[in-house]
Amino acid sequence: MGLKEKLHQTKLKYQGKKMAPAFNAIHTFLYAPNETTHNGSHVRGADDLKRTMNTVIMALVPCLLFGMFNTGYQHSAAIDGFPENFSLFEHFLTWDNFWLGLITILPLVIVSYGVGLAVEFVFAVIKGHEVEEGYLVTGMLVPLIVPVDIPLWMLAVAVVFGVVIGKEVFGGTGMNILNPALTIRAFLFFAYPTWMSGDKVWVHGAVDGVTKAGSTDAISGETVLGYLAQGNTADISYSLSDMFYGFIPGSVGETSTLLILLGGLFLIFSKIASWRIMVSAVIGALAMGLIFNGVVAAEWIPEYSKFYGLMNFEFWQHLLVGGLAFGIVYMATDPVTGSQTNRGKWIYGFLIGFLSVMIRVFNPGYPEGVFLAILLMNVFAPTIDHYVVRGNIKRRMKRLKNATIYPKTSGEVEALTTETV
């Protein structure tokens, strides 16, 4: 008797008991349920909510692992300086790096899942439905979009806020207007801005005042965007390949554009995420970046302007730094909060990319705007869909009106035309 069979037996045994939802949750988490429908015939796909969620989580795991290595790497690089001749296996993929990352990031993951699932469970009990799996992806996204050293209690408060106000008040999984993970991040950003921006939070140990080797200066590390927003026009100390592979400071999982790209491709080929949103968001970001580059090239803005640094930034490099790539691939494509219609997806994605870069450049407090842009477009997504659907109806009505109808007998012509008008 295999595991599947055993789980099924257990499920039958506990059917109707109080603990049934818990067993069902484990059972369906591992296998497709073996229930059959009793009335009529229905085609059932195996790609239910759990399968979808697990696929996204699989796409996120590389980012999480990379984030662990990067935490250690950034920490030691801040203390000892960046290695002269960087070698992937000697300096980056080391046990020391991984261990440091593991002990810093694992608590974030545990708090995120523990608190979030606890809230879900409480609501499931109150409302009397089975525990919904909607939090599985959110719980994995949250640790990846916060700075490494965020205090755990802040994360816990934000998760409670995000899950309750962002999701449960609207009716739970599938009913939310805003992406819960981004609601959590937005809450943290507005509630505790000192922990979400600046040059102290992106490198592990900087807040606690760990000092550089052989000096009394505390370590620090700015994100590339932070550096540019300071009005620094000098060359960035990170090379393009550093930015692409992700050896830069930033939120835990957002740095490696390469892995995000691979994750995105995986999601597209498994048909979980919409390629339309991803492609149009990239186009939108490039368009806004080009406009800013054009403004600089036309010398409409002076070099001492505080926006100069970010405006002058090569348009396509916006995709390599900050959370833009991560947001586009994993958050903008959220099927619940995004647009549903194909044409709507193009508009929705384009505006996300466009606004992200715009907010990034013009935000005075914090040079990042992806989460704000996606949240804003989440709110507009139903409106976009509404107009796309209305436009469709209008076009088809017009086609119908202009259509010539060939009746079988000549007497029906008038009856049919009056019906269609």
């Binding site: 209690w153 408060v157 106000i165 008040v169 507005f190 509630a191 505790y192 000192t194 922990w195």
Partner: protein, 215 residues
């Protein structure tokens, strides 16, 4: 309430909970969002509305039989404007700092829907004593919500109550702050008030299902 008959008592008690102007009628939200970052401002605002609504209701009720119905809105506006100016001047004279915090919102009591609403709905059709009780009741109902929202926003957002630090010193890291606690900047900004009011509405309607409107 030995002083009041049951009916009169209900005029005061109803708006406090089951017919609350903010959470049930959803009136006067604007000022509830704008000035509740501090408890002190919330209390002063509540008292101002209490005065304006209590006195205004009595005045309108006394005049109710001689106001021509065509121009009643203008008469109501004059009454409320007079009272608001009195409040504003008193605040400027005796609590200048606070009147700066409240800024334009004292003046905007004139446009507070609760006040015009009570004039129209109650004072024009009832005697002065009843109108007075109704005014006091509604103003208290408004004030209760303001104070609750102000309490949570000031406590969580600034760690103070009436400007007095209650959680310790955030800069010297004493009290609760020594454990790593920090003030929640989100509570300072007006959207937080909307969410707090929303949570109050949620809690109230979960307790009393009869209040839930049909969708």
């Amino acid at each position: 309430m030995g002083l009041l008959s049951k009916k009169d008592a209900n005029l005061i008690l109803d708006p406090l909970a089951d017919n609350n102007p903010i959470t049930i009628q959803v009136l006067g939200i604007c000022s509830a969002l704008a000035i509740t970052a501090e408890l002190k401002a919330s209390v002063v605002m509540s008292l101002s509305v209490l005065f304006v609504l209590g006195v205004g209701n009595v005045v309108i009720s006394l005049l109710r039989n001689i106001i021509p119905s065509k121009i009643r809105i203008i008469v109501q506006l004059i009454v409320v404007a007079t009272l608001v100016i009195v409040v504003d001047q008193v605040l400027k004279a005796f609590a200048y700092e606070l009147s700066k915090t409240l800024a334009v919102f004292v003046g905007l009591i004139i446009t507070n829907c609760i006040i015009m609403g009570r004039f129209e709905a109650f004072a024009l059709g009832n005697g002065p004593w009843k109108s007075f009780l109704d005014g006091i009741g509604n103003a208290l109902g408004y004030g209760v919500i303001l104070v609750i929202v102000g309490f949570f926003r000031e406590l969580l957002g600034s760690g103070t109550l009436f400007g007095i630090p209650v959680l310790g010193d955030p800069i010297a890291k004493t009290g609760l702050y020594s454990t790593g606690y920090e003030n929640n900047g989100f509570m300072i900004i007006p959207p937080a008030a909307l969410i707090v009011v929303g949570i109050i509405i949620w809690a109230q309607r979960s307790r009393n299902k009869a209040l839930i409107e049909e969708a």
